[in-house]
Symmetry: D4
Subunit: 173 residues, 8 copies
């Protein structure tokens, strides 16, 4: 567990149907022992709850917001409009446009209200959570050292895959 | 002037720089004698003013909202989240993506919170205003009859252009 | 049921194969008690029937037209060319272009002939019907009050989903 | 001049502003001595004139229709809905989408109502006119022989350009 | 059968795997009694056979070429480079780009070498064949009259679908 | 000036030609009194310098990296591969693809190596720098309070623009 | 087997999951008897291994590098930054963007660091390997003659497919 | 000058208007002392000249072909169909599609006929020529050593730009 306790990250889902993808963020935060709140809140259907949650979350110690949403993905922008804490967006794919709609609706924010955007879908959810840990690690050496370990584990995974391919190709003697 | 007075349409601009394009909407509403308010309000920079304006506008008699915005154009969605009056969006072009960002950010609204979207840029601003008049004309015969006249004037314009082309080509004898 | 009876909305399908998606519009109109006609009419295969239908529909009391079509989706434009009532378009996905073809063919209408466009596919069909109700509600207080109730029900649905996620994550004590 | 006289090709412009591009079609038809009518007719603003023109044109001997239009380019589809003569479309660029809107709105016609589509802009207008001549040349040997000559002239032009480049590079001794 | 006998249309497939889609063209030509040759010929793998085939086909009476190809679809352009007969292209979908690659590779021909392009996939194959019949019908009254009958059959199909929908909705009494 | 001194942010430009756009980042960092280093470093032309710089920067106290690059924009990814500090990317427009190339090359990072992406061009450079300040402000109350002031100034700017528009339209009495 | 022995081509996979597609490259190199190394190496997760491998590979006699990667595909660029041997990229499809992300991230390299790009997916892997053989064949006549044989075999395959289609259509008598 | 004399590279332009962009290739080849032929040859207008040129070029010692073309860019594919030497393509921008048409028409080659594709426009022309030199350098040590020098010069250029930026920012003391 990190030096600070409590819920330091809020993970917002625009719809309950976004859970299978956004779970990748829950997993990373759990792995790093970073407390988080997971909420279903809609920029369009429950706009007042979004505002209220952002205010309460901030005063309750949330330091980073992660917002996953598809289509005309406005959730991250709506959160960013009410906080100066870092807001991260995960554009989600739905329908035939491959997530390009959610990507552009998230990333093309006007000057003054930053939203940090990650890849469409599961890789983006995974990376947004890792990035949230990176932000917290700026003032949390234990988290910083875990990040180094996590990076090393990734390297190991690639090395194992590499070894396996070489063995298959008869190169690994 | 229409049977009803007062400001029946609100035209919201996400930024003062959107005025040269959105003036096309002002012109149509003026031409039809429909009272309107023109406001600069930002979904991201002044979110509370947006909510307050929508509430006051509704109680003040505004029946239709037109929102022009570029990039990750969230203004129409933010307005639609706080009213069940018709909300119309005009996606605006800025930068190199040709307005595709604003178009997708406006049109791909999730089920439950409708936003009616028109063409990127000036044609869209013109048509959104005309469409607002069409909505009001459902219960305003004078407006309905003006719409018929406006349509006829368009036809006349095409006919004149057609006559001119035929004369140029030596067909119009 | 709404104060006005009869068929107030016409839902046009460019092809019988569009029914599974466009049923989302039938459902909303039925839920709100708004009378509607559902028709299969093709801008390209039965252009004269389209024109005849629009004329008869208007004189028969239809106030809003909803048109669902895929590919080079011209149905809404063809209807809009013959009426000054509000015309709503639902672009439908077919083939590999994800509905981008139908979206652009619907939304990029030239100045003078407005068509209000909604999201590609089922969300768009749902929202176009809701928007039609919003147009009618401008002069129908009963419908306006039902829209408020419908919006509240959406909020409730999000709140329930939110509660469920919090319970799953062990936050909902 | 071709064996048949009269206006064998109709060139329709969706708007007078399309003339500078569509003149490329006038030039080819004039060069081949094929009689043509040039008209400004709008699928949306003058739909009845379009239908009337197509009927009169057919009975007056028009064998091929060329339609130039931008944005949600429906003109060719509207013409094709009323004739079984070959209908050719030239998608025109306007605004920031580079003509992709007009291209998709023209080319993605549903099965049963063919429209033959050419490149966006001037190259497309030029080629649509050449293609119209190719259609007529199926039953007109004089036109067929002119097409062969025109093709040879293109080859000559490339050869001259090639010679000039080689001279510039010092290769052409 | 048409007034003229022999193979009047050549349908070229860039690959044997294109057959399931391009059969839509075979069906239309068979329905109209227009003789055709179906060939697998590759612009890239058998370029000389393409050239030889085009020459022999032309002298053998082929009047229209239809080319179906996917990816960087060059077949129609390669054929058009060797004939002044009408060349029609059907862009085929393969892989993740939804056929946009084949569409742009077919339609964006430079001025001077026209290729007439139809929709991506089966609708395009169907329409290209119908369009070929339209070209031949310019000088073949029997084909022209069959085209009129075919168009009427389409209308009937839409009318039946329309009747069925109305009955389902309880409107068709 | 912020509580911490020294260079806390590194702004990397893939090419000297990116300076006019990336200056928007310099301006924000200067405005907030956050020390920064500005460097021209190329992921492709000086890959070893990039690695060396990242290592030295980290040990020298840099906490956030901002990378501006166009085309196949790999700079942010290359930096992220060598640090677990937050890495922000600004995709830049060049040539005809409107920055879509740089956007996708930046945002679609694989799981494990996060890069936070902002809008294409100047708005993105501005927001990336603001976001860097937001990250630093997590542990720097003075910066946090300046961010609140900056947000308020934005609101004031919108309010002034709004007032001006209302005066122009005769609404601001 | 080619005149030169040893591993002349290195095939790098950005992830073990790319193997089913990149095997198309292994197959071609095996068919031509060109020795190759197959490795899993990630530009982002194992950047130092990439650099080390490129250096060792070059001194060990590798003459051409083939890199397959998806999403923000930086592997080929990272390799090209450390060698002046030919580097070939195969963009891979993953998620909803159809490989457009990997294509643009690979092909839009800035001036000075060339990467040769092939089609998205399996056709690209096949062609990149063939192209590597073409590069080696510049100084290896045996390989050159095998390439001619391979090309002839392709022609034969098309001819067989063509014959089969003609037989099916009853044309092949 | 390289060890081998004569014209080792052929640079083909689809149109004389491509010269201002393709000159970037001439410059690189001249800088490296690699003999080249520059030709204007059109896949569509002079297809036979293309075939003849490819055959003569090969027997005359050309080892690499570079083809620059815009729109439905088929030139590289047409050349690749007649040689097993490496063929490089430079997609050129023309009109509103930003070169996406030429890029897809070049890169999406079917399996069996490889074409190596570079960036749209001038950067691509520059890199294609550099890549041609890389291919030749596989068997030409003098060229290989020049490539190393050229790479070093690029590094120097970046270092100078970097120094200049640091001086401007007051960092370069």
């Amino acid at each position: 567990m990190s030096g600070k306790s409590g819920k330091r990250v809020a993970v917002l889902l625009g719809s309950a149907s976004d859970k299978p993808v956004m779970e990748a963020a829950f997993e990373i935060l759990t792995e790093f022992g970073v407390g988080f709140a997971g909420r279903v809140l809609s920029a369009h259907r429950t706009p007042e709850e979004v505002v209220r949650f952002v205010r309460e979350a901030e005063s309750g110690g949330v330091e980073v917001f992660i917002c996953g949403a598809g289509m005309a993905a406005h959730l991250a922008g709506a959160v960013a409009a009410h906080t100066t804490k870092p807001v991260l967006a995960v554009p989600l794919e739905s329908g035939g446009l491959g997530g390009l709609d959610a990507l552009l609706a998230s990333v093309q924010m006007p000057g003054g209200i930053p939203v940090a955007v990650f890849a469409v879908g599961r890789a983006g959810a995974h990376n947004a959570a890792l990035f949230a840990v990176q932000c917290l690690a700026l003032a949390d050496e234990e988290l910083a050292s875990r990040l180094a370990g996590h990076r090393e584990a990734q390297r190991e995974k690639v090395r194992r895959d590499d070894g396996e391919l070489q063995r298959e190709l008869g190169d690994g003697k």
